[in-house]
């Protein structure tokens, strides 16, 4: 379902409704809003060595140079040099950089959205230390302003901005949560006026992985922590982040922030959803305009904290040899490398790491909203082959992750490749391993 254009604002009409000149103007003004000292320094620093290509799974899988990460921001590098760099007048005079064209932007939609998971692996390889992923995120903002966010991301972002849900549903998600609680025999704390911890939930879990929702409720009940979901700020995902709509991202985050403040939460607990964590932990305060009056923690780091403080004990999990898929947004980019491993160690899991793991893990291929972009599927499958091989090479029977988008991507791969492994939720494993009386029983 697409949101009514009138409700989105004329300047954000989808690309097909806008002239080429309007698209370029939108992209350039969006980009100009983004360029500060730091991003200009990053653009200035590139020495065209091309090494970032060797970190990117899209390039590794295809050997196609267009997938070189820094090339994905080329129109904006070009615009910066031509329009606002220190020697811009000279560059224009000598014709060293051409004007960015509408056709060029159309072409770059594929590079900035379909073939980039915003996973940040390229930022680890640059000898100049450039955070290429940060530039790509800014370029997505500019593409959004040009009306060039892919329709799947645009529509979900628009719907989420307007309704709080990225997609229409037959009944409100709050009702679905209650139904999940009844189905799994666990009480879902909802709309409590006060709570120490505010919970939110990936729409993916509500629709595809309800056991993960129940697991979260069970674990929190076991810990005896006062917590609540809030009907008016329920969805963890932020499609504004994926689509590049910064203002929409702000409004989507704001729902959660307002609800956390309303219930006096000391902690906003982000579930197993990588980009939701990135959006709330590392971007929300900037968009909100002031520091958040509560902590933002991802569920694995919260639970690892409980273990370290002696408030949570776990029994051995029945998992056998296990490997772990590190979600890029929470591990590589978000700094939660140890927490999942602390939990697995506490459950006595026999962890078999992939060749590239932890901060250097390859993305599942679905991050950055790519799993939602239909036309990107063939390329996504191609890039996933290496990942699936790495998982198989571990010899592990069990395959665990802590991101619902990773799960969805691997489930899709399972069907596409007739692959034998099914990803499990680390949170669900924890919930199945709860031991002792808990703090309330």
């Amino acid at each position: 379902m697409s949101a009514p254009a009138g409700m989105l604002g004329a300047s954000l009409a989808p690309a097909e409704q806008r002239s080429g000149e309007a698209r370029v103007a939108g992209a350039m003004s969006g980009f100009a809003r983004e360029v500060g000292a730091l991003s200009a320094f990053r653009l200035e620093s590139c020495i065209h060595c091309g090494i970032c290509a060797d970190a990117c799974h899209f390039y590794i899988a295809t050997e196609d140079p267009q997938y070189t990460p820094i090339w994905k921001v080329e129109p904006f590098k070009q615009a910066y040099k031509r329009e606002s760099s220190p020697f811009a007048p000279l560059i224009r005079l000598l014709g060293l950089k051409r004007e960015v064209t509408a056709d060029q932007l159309d072409q770059w939609q594929h590079l900035l959205f379909d073939s980039c998971n915003m996973c940040g692996r390229c930022s680890l390889i640059c000898p100049m230390g450039i955070d290429v992923a940060a530039l790509i995120e800014q370029a997505r903002h500019a593409m959004f302003e040009a009306g060039l966010a892919p329709k799947e991301l645009y529509q979900k972002a628009a719907h989420q901005k307007l309704t709080g849900q990225p997609e229409p549903s037959t009944e409100p998600y709050s009702a679905k949560l209650i139904a999940i609680g009844e189905r799994f025999g666990v009480e879902i704390p909802l709309d409590k006026p006060e709570a120490e911890v505010m919970l939110c939930v990936p729409r993916t879990d509500i629709e595809h992985y309800p056991a993960a929702v129940a697991a979260l409720a069970r674990v929190m009940k076991h810990l005896g922590v006062s917590c609540t979901f809030r009907s008016d700020g329920l969805v963890a995902e932020n499609y504004g982040y994926y689509a590049g709509g910064k203002d929409w991202q702000r409004e989507i985050s704001r729902r959660l922030i307002d609800q956390a403040i309303a219930c006096n939460a000391k902690t906003l607990l982000v579930p197993e959803c990588g980009h939701a964590y990135a959006a709330l932990r590392w971007e929300a305060a900037d968009l909100y305009g002031k520091p958040l009056p509560f902590r933002v923690l991802q569920v694995t780091e919260y639970l690892a904290e409980q273990i370290q403080q002696g408030r949570l004990r776990l029994a051995a999990a029945v998992a056998g040899a296990t490997t772990f898929q590190d979600p890029c947004e929470s591990v590589r980019k978000g700094g939660i490398n140890h927490a999942p491993r602390t939990l697995m160690k506490a459950m006595g899991i026999d962890l078999h790491e992939m060749k590239n793991h932890g901060g250097f893990s390859f993305c599942c291929g679905g991050g950055g909203g790519v799993i939602d972009i239909e036309r990107a599927a063939p390329l996504r499958y191609r890039t996933m082959e290496n990942k699936l091989r790495e998982i198989d090479d571990t010899g592990a029977q069990t395959f665990v992750t802590s991101c619902s988008d990773c799960r969805r991507t691997f489930d899709d791969a399972q069907a596409h490749f007739n692959w034998q492994k099914k990803p499990q939720s680390l949170l669900e494993l924890v919930a199945d391993s709860l031991t002792g009386a808990g703090n309330t029983e």
Binding site: F41, P86, L124, I125, K333, N356, G359
Partner: protein
Amino acid sequence: MDLLGFARGPALKAALAIFCLGVAWRIAGFALLRIRRDLNKPRASPARFLTEGLIAVGTRSWPHPEFIGRTGAGEALGYSYHLGLFALVLLFGPHIAFFGSLIGIRWPGLPSSLITVISVLTLALFLAVLFRRVTNPVMRMLSNFDDYFSWFITMLVLGTGLAATAHIGAPYQTLLALHILSFDALLVWFPFGKLMHAFYIFPSRAINGALLARKGATS
């Protein structure tokens, strides 16, 4: 005034002036843009992430083990010719004398025979770097006028220097004048192109390393 006098006199002074003003303008041009304050609570203390930033200056000098297989050879090539250039610029007797006249400090250099060997090796590496740039599809796609002109002008300085020390092709005074003139040209071009990475590389690594460490992210 003969050509050599012009090259080491007014031309050098003008080139140095353009170099200094140009570098200052180029850096000020972006450094004076707005700096957004990050309002998200850091994972690490300021002392920790500043330290991590400084560490990144060193650690980014060589690829992480996960990347070496794909990038080790290319990076080794890059660093090799840079090392060759540094040795030639900083450890060749006449260059030491030149810098000494500017800053009043001198230091021991390398024997001329060794400098000649390094010059030839560096020249070969320079050609290899160009070959790689035009044959590697990624580098070829990314390359523009700046990349080739910066290579050319650096090569010109290197080539004329080698010719002057080996007395090849013209009288020594003429070759020396051409060498210094090409160096003057390099100074003029420096602020406008990618040679500026000499000023950027360490701050860039440090700043981005610190920002990633602020989040506890992999760096």
